[in-house]
Subunit: 146 residues, 2 copies
DNA sequence: CCGCGTTGCTTGACAACATGAAATATCGAG
DNA sequence: CTCGATATTTCATGTTGTCAAGCAACGCGG
């Protein structure tokens, strides 16, 4: 096992923390540019990709369904999202982006440039090796290529 | 410039997003294990490393000082943190972890294993190359080693 | 020394997010 | 049909975040 004091490991952990901090910063900033909070931006992007029941949004956000109610309420109040019935189950409400919501989501996506800009400095080989390393960090089951 | 549709770049961005999500999940989980919120855990860790003025905490958290007041209030109410005077400037209050706070911070640190466990699957060379790639992503000014 | 702008912190009002418990409506199995 | 399970909402509550206002202390120019 890697000792807690391993300088290299510690440095990598710190770098990951820095990436996380930076990602958040830029995400919030991009959302704010469109008068959205981070949570609203996340939901809007989900719904722009595909309409889905409230329950599913809560699962993807890893939060309580009652929380999603409020977030969708606010998006709906601004005309970015709509709630409609599910033809197969009248308990379910399908949330979907309106045309205005799709348009906002599109512009939002363009602002979410994190790592596209920084990544531009990396060659294709470097991006490939970064991809492979990140994959293995996320899924330790993946063995190193022999 | 890297085209928006570049599959490799898109994949790396998605992986980074996955790392960010996972980091947060594990951080909140570790904090909750000690009955702390994420923000409280962050502040406690800062203060366990070194006492500092409220103002500095706000800078490191990138939030308003008035917000820090509340977070430190809650930590202080639980005896994990103390406010003391700054001998050099009577406007300043130095927040510091109490012995109980140091102890909690210590156990918290042990729970914050993100990327230490996953990283164990990477060889020293791989960790080095991950470190170098992350450094360049965070600071595009750094040229590729020739 | 004295005023006065600046700085550090707190307070108050308010919005968003988050959880949990309870209410409502619907589903589906028996 | 009945009854437990599911999907959503509502309500109460707590934490995080902002902003504006206030207060105490600092420190500089005169």
């Amino acid at each position: 096992m890697v000792p807690r004091t391993d300088a290299l490991t510690r440095e990598v952990v710190d770098l990951i923390a820095a990436v996380v901090a930076r990602y958040h910063e830029e995400y919030e900033e991009a959302a704010a540019k469109h008068a959205l909070t981070g949570a609203q931006a996340k939901v809007l992007r989900l719904l722009a990709a595909e309409p889905m029941p409230m329950r599913r949004i809560a699962q993807l956000l890893k939060c309580e369904p009652s929380n999603v109610t409020g977030i969708v309420d606010r998006l709906e109040a601004r005309g970015l999202v709509e709630r409609g019935p599910d033809p197969d189950d009248r308990r379910v409400k399908l949330a979907a982006a309106t045309p205005a919501g799709l348009e906002t989501a599109g512009r939002l996506g363009e602002s979410l440039d994190f790592a596209r800009e920084p990544l531009a400095g990396l060659s294709a080989e470097e991006r490939t090796s970064l991809r492979d390393l990140l994959r293995r960090v996320l899924d330790p089951g993946t063995a190193a290529p022999r």
